[in-house]
């Protein structure tokens, strides 16, 4: 009984004292698969809008001169938005530009990850990941500016109803 209580309070004690379990490695766990933090299928409201947009746009970005198969995939993924031909063309143009910028950030990330690991490299990687988020946020802002409120509303509803339930956040803490 007392032993059970001890095991129950042990994690709480660790949290209260602020001791990291793996303070040396600075990782909470080393298991290959991260546990689920938020399952969008169960609690879509806990998926941030910004994150959902980032995932959706990453899924649908295609260079404008991409192979036909990629453009067909993009068309199929954009189909639920029910866009008119001119609206679709405008979105495809914005997504084409976004793809080029995302390619640049991914190239920077590859370069940074290949460098010697030190605090400076970590900061650089963090900065690139942040830059990636900003690039996507700028694209979202451009979409909101470029389309009618009705189209933006349809896109928002697609993000809430279709995209968020298909996102799962994994991790070691909030």
């Amino acid at each position: 009984m007392i032993r059970q209580q001890f095991f129950r309070i042990w994690p709480a004690l660790l949290c209260a004292s602020g001791v990291a379990v793996a303070s040396q490695a600075q990782h909470v766990h080393s298991a290959p698969d991260l546990p689920v933090l938020v399952d969008g299928a169960k609690t879509p409201d806990r998926i941030p809008d910004e994150l959902a947009y980032a995932h959706f746009l990453t899924a649908v970005v295609v260079e404008e001169n991409a192979p036909e198969e990629a453009r067909k995939r993009q068309a199929a993924l954009l189909l639920p938005l029910d866009l008119e031909a001119d609206e679709r063309q405008l979105l495809v143009t914005i997504l084409g530009r976004l793809k080029l910028r995302l390619n640049e950030t991914e190239a920077s990330l590859r370069d940074a990850a290949g460098a010697t690991q030190d605090p400076q490299t970590s900061r650089r990687i963090a900065a690139i990941l942040e830059q990636r988020k900003q690039v996507i946020a700028a694209a979202v802002a451009e979409i909101r500016r470029s389309f009618s409120p009705a189209v933006v509303d349809r896109l928002d509803r697609h993000i809430q109803n279709r995209v968020k339930p298909k996102i799962v956040i994994y991790g070691s803490g909030n």
Binding site: Q26, V28, P32, A41, G171
Partner: protein
């Protein structure tokens, strides 16, 4: 004894140096999987994306890899992996109807912990037969169709996947002409609509034991204005008269029943003509038979 131990431990922890002040690596990796099917149901697309919002501290993340797996209804599995934050896959449905499932996994290398993985959540999409109705181009009103009374409008059904069977049905005021099981049919207007789109045409397409239906609203219209276009002079639009007379001159004088008691003097001439308007006509006789010519009257409301 145990409570003493716990108390000692608590004291030790509380007095320990505040190592938590150091930055602590926190993973936050999200995975999104989605599936889409092409408009003609011929291709299924699976896509997976990864986002990394981890607090890195002194660790570095890199070598991102995203993997997409698509499972067909028959159990066949297709896998694609790409370096970076997105991966996708296109698979031909080849008539495989039913539920297609997409799973995705993210993998990254953490300089502090080595390879780390996340993902597995499934997205699914149903591939079902789809059928669409195409209306004869000049008989469209938005997504609806129309037909003039006594006239016909051609309709074509296109079913996906190909090879399905069709079954057409028409609502009141319409009559289907031709085989109702072929992709191409015509509908005839038999009674003027009382309001726009007050009748309908539906087609059902069945493939592999599964069916899909499509329907369109239809209006039976009555001609009330005529346009004379491209006749060499000025184009003109005139109000439709209450009666249209079509006069034909046969080359072989065979007695034929008169379909109407209204004939015109002009119709006796050696030509074929179309006489529009009751005022231009003259009532002659009501012979049951005539030779060499006949006339049709059509009352226009």
């Amino acid at each position: 004894m145990a409570s003493m131990f716990a108390g000692t431990l608590l004291l030790t922890l509380l007095l320990a140096p505040p190592v938590a002040a150091q930055c602590q690596m926190i993973y936050n990796v999200s995975v999104y999987n989605d599936a889409a099917v092409s408009e003609d149901q011929s291709m299924v697309y699976g896509v997976s994306t990864t986002s990394d919002s981890s607090i890195l501290c002194t660790c570095g993340h890199g070598s991102y890899e995203t993997r997409t797996t698509v499972y067909a209804p028959d159990g066949t599995q297709y896998v694609a992996a790409s370096s970076g934050f997105a991966s996708s896959l296109a698979v031909a449905t080849n008539g495989r109807l039913g539920t297609w499932t997409v799973t995705g996994n993210a993998r990254l290398f953490c300089s502090c912990a080595g390879l780390v993985g996340a993902g597995g959540v499934a997205a699914s999409i149903e591939v079902q037969p789809v059928v669409r109705i195409q209306i004869e181009p000049t008989k469209q009103q938005g997504s609806s169709g129309f037909v003039l009374t006594g006239d016909t409008t051609a309709l074509t059904a296109t079913g996906y996947p190909a090879g399905g069977t069709f079954a057409w049905q028409a609502g009141p005021k319409l009559l289907l002409s031709g085989s109702a099981t072929q992709p191409n049919v015509v509908v005839r207007g038999i009674e003027e609509s009382s309001s726009m789109g007050d009748t309908w045409v539906q087609v059902t397409c069945t493939v592999g034991g599964k069916s899909a239906a499509a329907s369109i609203r239809f209006t039976v219209r009555e001609a009330r204005r005529f346009a004379a276009l491209n006749l060499g002079g000025l184009d003109a639009t005139v109000r439709a008269p209450p009666r249209i007379r079509l006069h034909h001159l046969d080359h072989i004088p065979i007695p034929r029943p008169i379909r109407s008691s209204h004939r015109t003097a002009e119709s006796l001439g050696n030509r074929s003509s179309q006489d529009v308007g009751a005022s231009a006509s003259a009532r002659l006789s009501t012979h049951p038979f005539t030779s060499g010519q006949h006339a049709e009257n059509r009352i226009v409301k």
